[in-house]
Point group: C2
Chain length 423, copies 2
């Protein structure tokens, strides 16, 4: 029998009615003849509620105790799902991370999994049980409870699938799969039957937050086939995410996406002598600020000076300005310019590797629309252009058309796209 | 340094403000120079809420999963209390039963503790930390989570005190100690400075539900000095519960109590041949019905027959009648008579062991008031009389007076007496 790992997020187990529906989905997979391990997050707003309690006690709750606290959230959902399965006549057992042995580093709030014991899991599966495992949590070799941070439950599911050599890891969500672009912006966006890990990573980074990049990285590393699918349309197979070698490449571009969460900072008139850029980005990195696109341009408004421009997450603005202010005299910058009306528009596709001219066709499409490109960055399978925020939607629609990504019908989006969840 | 184990129930940790107060109480004990281990229950109505969720899924939730679910309640309160202690500058660490190693039998919903590992606890204490331990829960040798059932958190605290050879176990509650009787009924009831385990057991059984009998039994077994005290009046030492040998006996009667939770059943006209009583009480016991007082009287309304009367908890009435109906023809009873307007009034005192005449003075007191005694039962340190429910209050006041238990002032009762909690 093959093992399938299924993962259901917080909105899928938000109340007992939804938990009963999840039990139906689990039993549907079991009836196909597979062994099933289910990973669940905490119910709906449980994590928010627990964080609120902690904040009532301390503005900065100690991280070890925060993990003790948050891990109770999944403790509730696993027990209720196991009850729902048993009540529906399906033998099931719940296990927390300590019981399974999901071993992590000894770091709180964002631990990484280092090992998963499979003996107890396999014993239960052998006895014909569905095993319901708490996502998002782990335990150190010393028995300390940890949590995995953002994308934790997705990562738990993928890591379990890898450890159990599962045939597939199914990530259930309230969209029907991965789309060529955001269907809220481009109504005829089409669902992708298949996408590679690499493409999925690039799509996730530019705003298609169906699946956390960390989980995709783990799946890629251990070659775990991932399926993103809806628990409300089981006949729909969703999107399969596999290695690029296992795919047949049809189109150079798989998807287009826009990211509106960044802003651009220009450090103006930095003397054109070595080491200044290094200083800036070392300091930013020490302050734990992620920098995405970087351009150093010879502005030459003042002889022998450069402008250094880069993009950061909007939430990091204050931290970044503080860091730059501390550096200002040292790097002899005249001023810092902040531009927060920007959008990063990207095309992604493993198929562009061997096909030159894809980037050029993107620039041409934008030029035809009279859209000014402020910055460009490229990777092997992605081209990103920074444009004015107001141009993002037009750019997306046009690029989707340019690369022939649309389907004939308007995509049906269940509810809204998922917000990024803590776990 | 001496070790003190403190226990706080669900109402004491009902919200984050109350948890901060508990942290103050803990630090007060620590500042006296003691090592402190704190046992807490789940916050206020958490357990009720979790049971409600389980019932939404199944009328009879599987017991293993119910334990998995309920154990999360204490997981929340221990983490929050450890946070509150650290925030107040007191080094602290929370531990669930699995982390401590509170080993129980492999029985769900009402497991008994068989062993407590103390190595990790002692290591933390040695490092100067307050250890906050989840009450009510345990773990089997196989890593299965169990709960201890009613009185569980009190029992966890006493068992920990025994395992750690603690100097004392302090049970914090919202009354100021154990009283000579219910201060709501007899306003000048006085707080007992000391009471023996045996007396406490008898008082608990007849309705003074400050402390669960199971915890008192455990304390008695391991000779753990227990103190019942209020977290709002730390200058008040509450009531110390110790072995009868460690007490100086002053009065023959320590306390009087009334129990209104029982009803009486009379099985009428059972033939006076051997074995009928045995049949009845064996069947009742098999149906898990606790019988308290029993009287077999030669009613002789019909020649060679007996009436057999006994008392049970009001909640067990349906089960009891069903059991009796199944027996009716076999024991040839004419009918069953149910009397639910009864009260059991008791006097308790280790001092009555060597003093005859105490029971007689009780009967005399009741006779003077014209109160009819329906049944009598006695133990070494208790005399109980079944009376009409309407006579209970008068009886209690008079007996309290007879044995000189009152004090000069009216007892100040904080809020209401605690309802019996699930954990």
């Amino acid at each position: 029998m093959s093992i399938i790992v299924q993962k259901f997020g917080g909105t899928s187990v938000a109340d007992t009615e939804k938990i009963k529906h999840v039990a139906d989905v689990v039993m549907h997979e079991r009836n196909l003849g597979n062994d099933v391990v289910v990973v669940v997050s905490a119910m709906g707003h449980t994590t928010d509620h627990l964080v609120k309690l902690a904040k009532e006690i301390s503005d900065t709750p100690p991280s070890r105790e925060l993990d003790m606290l948050l891990s109770t959230g999944e403790g509730i959902s696993i027990a209720l799902l196991a009850m729902a399965l048993q009540t529906a006549g399906c033998n099931a057992v719940s296990m927390n991370a300590m019981q399974v042995g999901i071993i992590t580093e000894n770091i709180h709030n964002k631990a990484r999994i280092v090992d998963i014991k499979t003996d107890k899991l396999k014993k239960h599966l052998k006895e014909g049980k569905v095993v319901v495992v708490a996502g998002f949590q782990g335990v150190t070799e010393d028995g300390e409870i940890t949590t995995l941070g953002r994308g934790g439950s997705d990562t738990s599911a993928v890591a379990l699938a890898a450890a159990l050599e599962a045939e597939r890891c199914d990530i259930y969500t309230d969209v029907e799969g991965v789309y060529t672009t955001d269907p809220r912006i481009v109504p005829n966006a089409s669902r992708l039957e298949e996408v590679s890990y690499e493409e999925m990573l690039e799509l996730a980074r530019v705003g298609a937050n169906v699946l956390h990049p960390r989980a995709v990285e783990t799946a890629k590393q251990f070659k775990v086939p991932l399926r993103v699918r809806s628990s409300f349309k089981l006949e729909n197979k969703g999107t399969l995410i596999v290695g690029v070698d296992d795919m047949e490449l049809h189109k150079p571009v798989t998807g287009v996406a826009a990211d509106l969460t960044q802003l651009r900072i220009v450090v103006c008139d930095v003397p054109d002598t070595p080491g200044h850029a290094a200083k800036i980005f070392t300091k930013l990195s020490e302050a734990n600020i992620s920098v995405d696109m970087i351009i150093q341009s010879y502005a030459r408004k003042i002889e022998n000076t450069n402008d250094i421009a880069f993009t950061i997450d909007k939430g990091d603005l204050d931290k970044t300005l503080k860091t730059l202010d501390e550096l200002k005299s040292e790097i002899k910058a005249s001023r810092f310019q902040v531009d927060d009306n920007i959008a990063k528009v990207s095309i992604v596709g493993a198929g562009m590797i061997d096909r030159p001219g894809i980037a050029a066709s993107m620039f041409e499409t934008l030029a035809k629309l009279g859209i000014n490109i402020k910055m460009i960055s490229t990777s092997e399978i992605k081209v990103s252009c920074l444009v004015d925020e107001n141009d993002a939607k037009r750019a997306l629609v046009a690029l989707h058309e340019t690369y022939g990504l649309g389907c004939d019908e308007v995509a049906e989006v269940k509810g809204t796209l998922p917000e990024e969840e803590l776990n």
